[in-house]
C-alpha cells in the first residue's frame, strides 16, 4: 500500500523548470556560446597567430604562452583562438548550405514522384562517395581556399538532409489535412510551404547541428591531411598537422587544438541531442 502526494508547481519557476528539464541544451549552448565569444573577441584576447618568434620555439605552456609555442615560435593559444573562427565559419556555412539545398530538393522530391525517382538515384550515388575523398578531389581540381573547402564538405552532406526531408514530406503528404487543403482549393506551392514545410523544421534543425559538428571534424581532418584550408590560415586541423612532427617532444601543439575540437563537437552534439529530445515528443503530443 502506498500513498501519493500531489506536488504543486509554483508559477514563477517555469523557466528554471525548463533549464532543469533540458540540461543538455543548456550545457551545450553555454559551451558553444563560449566558443562564439572567443571567436568574436579573437583580436582582443589573442596575440598574432602568424608571427614567428624563433627565440621561443617549442616552449612549454606557461604564464606567457598559455598553450605553449610551436616549432616556429608561434603562440599556440593565438592560433587555437583564431582557429575557432575558421571552424565555426566552416561549420555554420556548411550547415546552412546543406540545409537549404537539402530542404529544397527534399520537398520537391517528396512532392513530385517522377522527379523523386531521378533525383534520389543521384543522391544515392553522391552518398556512396566518402566525404573526405570527394573533398580532396575537388580541392585538387581547384585552387585551395576556404570557400572551396566549404563547398567540398557541403556536397556529401546534402544527400543526407534530402533523405531526411523527403521522408518527412512523404509521411506528411498522406495525412488527411493535406487532402483537406486540396479539397479547399489550395494550390500546390502553398501546400508545400504552408502545410508540409513546417513539419520539416524540427528534424531539420536537429540534423543541421549534426551537420555542423560533422563539418568541423571533416575540415579538421582535411587540414590535417593537408588538403583543407591553406596552411597560412590557422585552423585547428592545420595546427595539429604542423605539430604532428613534434608530437613526442612538444605534445601541447597537438593537444590543445585537439581538445578544443573535441569540446566544440561535443557541445554541438549536445545541443542537437537536446533539441531532438525536446522537440520530437512535443510534436507527437501536439498531434
Amino acid at each position: 500500500m502506498s500513498s501519493v502526494l500531489a506536488v504543486p508547481v509554483p508559477a514563477g519557476s517555469r523557466s528554471f523548470d525548463w533549464i532543469r528539464r533540458n540540461p543538455t541544451i543548456v550545457v551545450g549552448s553555454a559551451i558553444l556560446g563560449l566558443f562564439i565569444a572567443v571567436a568574436l573577441l579573437a583580436p582582443w584576447i589573442a596575440g598574432d597567430p602568424l608571427s614567428f618568434d624563433p627565440l621561443n620555439r617549442l616552449k612549454r605552456p606557461s604564464k606567457e604562452f598559455w598553450f605553449g609555442t610551436d616549432q616556429f615560435g608561434r603562440d599556440v593559444f593565438s592560433r587555437v583562438v583564431y582557429g575557432t573562427r575558421i571552424s565555426l565559419i566552416v561549420g555554420v556555412s556548411v550547415a546552412v548550405i546543406a540545409t537549404v539545398t537539402g530542404l529544397l530538393v527534399g520537398v520537391l522530391c517528396g512532392y513530385y514522384r517522377r522527379l523523386d525517382d531521378i533525383v534520389m538515384r543521384i543522391m544515392d550515388g553522391l552518398m556512396a562517395i566518402p566525404a573526405i575523398l570527394l573533398a580532396i578531389a575537388l580541392i585538387t581540381l581547384m585552387k585551395a581556399s576556404l570557400l572551396i573547402v566549404i563547398i567540398a564538405i557541403s556536397i556529401p552532406e546534402i544527400p543526407r538532409v534530402v533523405r531526411l526531408v523527403r521522408s518527412v514530406v512523404l509521411s506528411v503528404r498522406g495525412l488527411p489535412y493535406i487532402e483537406a487543403a486540396v479539397a479547399s482549393g489550395t494550390r500546390s506551392r502553398i501546400i508545400m510551404t504552408r502545410h508540409i514545410l513546417p513539419s520539416t523544421v524540427a528534424p531539420l534543425v536537429v540534423q543541421s547541428t549534426y551537420v555542423c559538428a560533422s563539418a568541423i571534424l571533416i575540415e579538421a581532418g582535411l587540414s590535417f591531411l593537408g588538403a583543407g584550408t591553406p596552411p597560412e590560415i590557422p585552423s585547428w586541423g592545420n595546427v595539429i598537422s604542423l605539430g604532428r612532427a613534434f608530437f613526442q617532444i612538444s605534445p601541447w601543439i597537438i593537444f590543445f587544438p585537439g581538445l578544443m575540437l573535441a569540446i566544440a563537437v561535443l557541445a554541438i552534439n549536445l545541443v542537437g541531442d537536446g533539441l531532438r529530445d525536446s522537440l520530437d515528443p512535443r510534436i507527437a503530443r501536439r498531434m
Binding site: 500500500m1 502506498s2 500513498s3 501519493v4 500531489a6 506536488v7 508547481v9 528539464r21
Partner: protein
C-alpha cells in the same frame, strides 16, 4: 441467482495513479467490484475513464518505471495478487487469469507461428512437452473454430485475417483454462460481422469452460448483448453497477442516462423513433485527471448537480435490488 455463484475475482478500492511532470494523473481512483464464476461482467465507459488501466492494474501489467503508484486489493480465488513477486505473478498470468487486447496484430508476436504462441503458454504453465503442447495448441485452434487447424497452426500472424488473429488470441488466453478472462475492447477494431462471430465464440467458450469474463467496452450494444452485469466508469471512478437488463431499464446515474440517451437506438418493439431528431447531448467534456477532483466527478456536466455534489464525493449506495449508483440526487431524478 447470480449472487449465489462463487466470487472468483475480487477487487477492492483499486487506485492507480501516475506521477507525471504536470501533476498526478488519477487514472483509477477507488474502484471495487466482484466477478463471479462463469459470468460476464462488462466495464463500460468512454475513453479516459480508466477501464483499461483497471484491467492492466489487475494483471499487474503496468511497468513500475512510468511513475505508477498502485494501491488496493485484488484477490483471485483467495490469492492476493498485489503483493506477489513478479515471478509468482508470472505463474498466474496466462494460467489462472488471462487478458486479450484490442489490436490482435500488435499483440501477437510476428516472428512466431500461431501454434508456437499457443504452445508456449502450455509449455510454461502446464509443463507439457513440445509435442503434447503442439497437439493441444491445434485442439485450441479447433475450439476457436479456425478451419483446418493443423495447417493453420504453422501460419504466421500476418497470414491470418483480423478476426482469425483475435481467435488465436482467445486460444492463447484460454489454453490453460483460466478462471478469469479479461477482454479489453476485443472487437472494437473488427468489422461488425466479425465482431458478432467473436462475441458468439466467447459466449460459447464461456459456457463450455466456465470462465468468467470481464469485458471492457465503450459500446453499449455489446454490453446489452453479452453481459449479465455491468459497471459504468467515469473519470477513474465507478458510478453505477447493476444487472444489464436493470441497467438499461432503469439507469440511475445521470451519466449512464446521458450515455444511453445519446446513442441512436430503437424502441423495445424494434421501431425507430426520432429519426433525424435531436439526440440528447451531455454538455461539456471529461474532466482532466491531472487535477484532484473534489466532489462528484460528473457534477460540472450534470443538470441535476447541487452544492453537495460539488463538495462531497458520493459513495455507491444501493437504490434498487442489486443496483448501486454514486449520486446524491437520485431521488430527485425524473423517471426514465
Amino acid at each position: 441467482m447470480a449472487s449465489d455463484a462463487e466470487v472468483v475475482l475480487s477487487v477492492r478500492d483499486l487506485r492507480t495513479h501516475f506521477l507525471s511532470r504536470d501533476g498526478v494523473v488519477r487514472a483509477v481512483d477507488g474502484v471495487s467490484f466482484d466477478v463471479r464464476r462463469g459470468e460476464t461482467l462488462c466495464i463500460v465507459g468512454e475513453s479516459g475513464c480508466g477501464k483499461s488501466v483497471s484491467a492492466l492494474s489487475i494483471m499487474r501489467l503496468i511497468p513500475e518505471n512510468v511513475g505508477r503508484s498502485m494501491s488496493g486489493s485484488v484477490r483471485l480465488e483467495g490469492t492476493e495478487l498485489t503483493t506477489l513477486s513478479e515471478r509468482q505473478m508470472r505463474a498466474i498470468r496466462g494460467n489462472r487469469i488471462s487478458m486479450i487486447f484490442q489490436e490482435p496484430m500488435t499483440s501477437l508476436n510476428p516472428v512466431l507461428t500461431v501454434g508456437a504462441q499457443i504452445a508456449e503458454s502450455l509449455h510454461i504453465h502446464q509443463r507439457l512437452p513440445r509435442r503434447a503442447a503442439w497437439e493441444r495448441a491445434v485442439e485450441m485452434l479447433a475450439m476457436v473454430r479456425i478451419a483446418d487447424p493443423a495447417r493453420r497452426a504453422a501460419d504466421y500472424p500476418h497470414q491470418l485475417s483480423g478476426g482469425m488473429r483475435q481467435r488465436v488470441m482467445i486460444a492463447i488466453a484460454l489454453a490453460c483454462n483460466p478462471q478469469v478472462l479479461i477482454a479489453d475492447e476485443p472487437t472494437t477494431a473488427l468489422d461488425v460481422t466479425i465482431q458478432a462471430q467473436i462475441l458468439n465464440l466467447m459466449l460459447e467458450l464461456k459456457q463450455r469452460l466456465g470462465t468468467a469474463i470481464v469485458l471492457i467496452t465503450h459500446d453499449l450494444g455489446v454490453v446489452a448483448e453479452t453481459a449479465q452485469r455491468a459497471i459504468v466508469m467515469y473519470a477513474g471512478r465507478k458510478v453505477e453497477e447493476a444487472p444489464v437488463a436493470e441497467l438499461f431499464r432503469n439507469p440511475l446515474h445521470p451519466y449512464t442516462r446521458g450515455l444511453i440517451n445519446s446513442i441512436p437506438r430503437r424502441t423495445a418493439a424494434g421501431r425507430r423513433t426520432n429519426i433525424r431528431g435531436r439526440l440528447q447531448e451531455i454538455s461539456g467534456i471529461v474532466p482532466s485527471l491531472r487535477e484532484a477532483i473534489v466532489g462528484c466527478a460528473f457534477a460540472p456536466r450534470c443538470s441535476y448537480a447541487v452544492e453537495r455534489c460539488r463538495r462531497e464525493r458520493p459513495g455507491l449506495d444501493q437504490h434498487r435490488p442489486e443496483h448501486v449508483a454514486a449520486c446524491w440526487e437520485i431521488a430527485r431524478l425524473a423517471p426514465q
